[in-house]
């Protein structure tokens, strides 16, 4: 049984009684077992006359194929569990022998012919190592059974997949013909609806979120089913449509900006009316969800604006707030106006035309626009939080903190802080003032830093800010001398109206923006003199006098000049510095008397000791000095005047 095919074919044994039929209920009808004679006849029918005996193998090449067949036969016989083979009782034995003989002859003939034809007498066949047959059979069995079960599973999966794809297709079909009711259900999930008569009304308003705005904010749900069925249905067709109040149509936004005061109030109201280009509506009608969201946004903007205008009229300020048409104008700083305008554009042609004519980039204060929305939400939340459930449950309804006021003995201040709250407008004006002050401060520090190279000014802005307060640390240093010249470090807390400056030495002052600029300039001038003082300490020079505010010299328009006089370690030389914010620095060197040639030798002072008297001052031509900055120059000067 050498050289069998790579895959063994095996046949499964059946049950002892063969199943004839399996009923629909699963019951099996069995075939009656054969009688002896029937069985014999059946077996005789199965006899393979091609079967070879071992001796008939004179043609190996041909026999190979035969052997395969034979092997199969054998297996077949074994597996089918045939009744024990008894050759003695074999009735057709002679027939068989004859036929076998004939077959042998035929085979020999065939082989001879083949040899004659192919001229091949010998054929070498590799002797294969035979593994035990039954084991192979078992493997084959396993493989086949596995194949079968896999096939079954695959079929089940395929069927399921088919069904799924069918249902998906159906679903899509359903979606395509979605009906009004399912759409309504979806609408109901997002919006408040109620039935009034035969109408379905919805609620757009923020009332449930705590808004007190009197606008109704209702929309109507319309059935949009009367379309021509013959025509092709547009893709965005929706059987449900919404009818929103005409005043909430279109899109709206609030615009906050700070401008130079305009002289003419007449055309104020309409300036920003139709500024924003409406994003081009897609073909057809927009989906109800986008429609409703847009309308709700319009409503919120309206509410904010209404609230602001009400406050603008009520609040008394030095310069009254002006409400013109869709604009509120307030003057947080002289010469500047904060304008908050309500821009509402509808989709009609007129507005689209006007929107195209001018698109000037203006300094929107997006932060404030955003904050306005946030503030109104906060306001809503506050009204909502007024109605909280009482705990314990028996207690009456009421404001939570108010309930604490009695038993916790709140004092007047606490009660006041509970009750009063600033209006939207006040808050937004405060925020605008702060933003303005902050950007002005930043700008002036930046310009100062770029304009003035020596000393250097650095600003470190804090990343954590409040809407009303931000802080920055300002350092004034000289390049290369950061370690020793750090006496001027300031923290600026920029508030709403004023900037609070905390100095490193503990002084605290509040300044306006203009004052701050002057202050920084004077600090920079003082820095130079302080740096000389520090440098003297390091170089071993002695400070003879020091003043931050000298009364001598030209009058400075900003601050005061400062001055310092230092003497060299052995006292021979002295350097005097006078530095003013405006006049700049002036450096003088005093020589020992003995070195100055201009002073004529006096008769009076002949004694040697008089040589130690101080001589005259000479001004140093500072701009001709070498060195990249003031302190470096000073260090060089000191070094030059210090004897080795």
């Amino acid at each position: 049984m050498s050289g069998g095919p790579p895959v063994q074919i095996s046949i499964e044994s059946s049950a002892e009684k063969q199943v004839q039929e399996v009923g629909l209920d699963g019951s099996e009808t069995y075939v009656q077992p054969l009688s002896m004679s029937q069985n014999l006849a059946r077996l005789a029918q199965r006899i393979d006359f091609g079967q070879e005996s071992d001796d008939g193998d004179n043609g190996q090449g041909v026999l190979q194929a035969r052997e395969n067949d034979w092997a199969e036969q054998q297996q077949q016989e074994e597996e089918e569990g045939m009744i024990k083979f008894q050759p003695s009782l074999w009735p057709w034995d002679s027939v068989r022998n004859h036929i076998r003989g004939a077959l042998t002859e035929m085979c020999v003939l065939y082989d001879v012919l083949t040899i004659v034809k192919d001229k091949r007498y010998m054929h070498l066949d590799p002797v294969s190592q035979e593994s035990t047959t039954p084991k192979q059979n078992q493997h084959g069995l396993l493989l086949v059974s596995k194949r079968k079960s896999l096939l079954g599973a695959a079929q089940i999966l395929l069927k399921g997949g088919e069904r799924l794809s069918k249902s998906v297709a159906e679903n899509q079909e359903n979606k395509r013909q979605r009906d009004f009711n399912s759409e309504l259900l979806r609408l109901r999930q997002h919006w408040k609806l109620r039935k009034l008569g035969d109408k379905i009304l919805g609620d757009l308003s923020y009332r449930s979120a705590g808004s007190l705005f009197p606008h109704q904010g209702t929309f109507e749900v319309i059935k949009n089913t009367d379309i021509d069925l013959d025509k092709k249905i547009p893709e965005d067709y929706c059987p449900l449509d919404v009818q929103i109040p005409s005043d909430l149509e279109g899109s709206a936004h609030l615009k906050v900006s700070i401008q130079k005061q305009s002289s003419d109030i007449g055309d104020l109201g309409t300036v920003n009316l139709f500024r924003r280009t409406v994003p081009k509506a897609k073909a057809g009608t927009p989906h109800w969800q986008t429609k409703l969201e847009a309308a709700q946004n319009v409503l919120l903007c309206k509410e904010i604006f209404a609230q602001l205008s009400r406050e603008a009229v009520q609040i008394k300020s030095q310069i009254p707030h002006i409400v013109v048409k869709n604009q509120i104008i307030s003057q947080p700083f002289p010469g500047l106006q904060l304008s908050i305008s309500f821009c509402h554009s509808t989709n009609d042609k007129k507005s689209q035309k006007s929107s195209s004519d001018k698109t000037i980039l203006e300094d929107h204060l997006y932060v404030l626009e955003h904050n306005l929305h946030q503030l109104i939400r906060e306001f809503h939340k506050q009204t909502l939080s007024n109605i909280v459930m009482p705990h314990p449950a028996s207690a009456p309804f009421g404001h939570k903190r108010m309930r604490l006021a009695g038993p916790q003995a709140f004092d007047k201040n606490e009660i006041n802080s509970m009750q009063q709250s600033e209006g939207l407008l006040e808050k937004i004006i405060k925020q605008a003032k702060h933003i303005f002050l902050r950007s002005r401060t930043a700008r002036s520090i930046d310009s100062m830093a770029s304009r003035i190279e020596d000393p250097q000014i650095q600003a470190h802005w804090s990343s954590i800010n409040d809407v009303y307060e931000s802080s920055v640390k300002v350092l004034i240093t000289s390049q290369g001398y950061e370690q020793i010249c750090k006496s001027i470090q300031l923290q600026l807390n920029i508030g709403v109206d004023q900037i609070k400056v905390v100095h490193r030495d503990g002084r605290v002052i509040s300044l306006t923006h203009q004052e701050l600029q002057d202050f920084l300039l004077s600090q920079m001038s003082q820095h130079q003199v302080l740096a000389v003082q520090q440098l003297a300490k390091v170089m071993g020079w002695h400070v003879l006098s020091f003043s931050n505010h000298v009364g001598l010299g030209p009058v400075e328009s900003i601050g005061n000049a400062s001055s310092i006089t230092v003497a060299s370690p052995n006292g021979d030389y002295a350097i005097s510095v006078h530095n003013g914010p405006e006049s700049g620095s002036k450096v003088m060197v005093q020589f020992p008397r003995c070195q100055s040639k201009e002073i004529p030798k006096s008769d009076m002072l002949q004694d040697n000791k008089w040589n130690y008297l101080r001589g005259p001052f000479k001004e140093v031509q500072w701009n001709k000095m070498e060195g990249r900055n003031f302190v470096y120059k000073m260090e060089l000067l000191m070094a030059a005047l210090t004897p080795c």
Partner: protein, 213 residues
Amino acid sequence: MGVTCVTQVPLAEGKSVQQTVEILTRKLEQLGAEKQGTFYVDCETYHTAGTNVGTTAQSGKLLYIMHCSEHPLSTFALFENGPCLVADQNLDVLMIKLKGFFQNAKANKMETRGTRYQFCDFLIKIGTVTMGQSGRGISVEVDYCPCAVPGDCWNLMVEFMQSFMGNHAPTVPPVFNSKHDALYSPADTMMQYMELLNKIRKHQQGTVTGMRL
């Protein structure tokens, strides 16, 4: 609300109540204190109606109901040396309901009214104590708002009180001793007022009975 000290200032030599108050306020204003409206503290006395049989053994015990303008939404109910209940104003309504059990001794109603001053973080209230119609004495309340622990700021308060009361500055109030390190509460102030008013009343009654004798 910080730590508060309530004390009585005796009348200046040969001066009336009104004149003594004026002297005090003038000193305060000289310090730089600013006037900030008025204030009041009132105290009503309740005692158990009739003779209670059975459970109640506190027939002699008095219940005080107090109000104060600094805490306008609160009503304080307290016993001498006993617990002090802080409640909202509906407690007054309840006291009416309890009329059959607790009776208001109206004749004993006392109050002190006067001016409220602010000086830096101090609140100073100088009031005239009245019982019935007549002024009976002067109360001075000093409140140091930033601090909540009596033991921490007592020295500081004494220094301040000496600056306008001279040697009439008080010794440590007993309430302070009981809660030296604990947080001070408004109820403690009411306790001090109650003790002060009681003292003045007893003194008055003593003199009245003495006069009768």
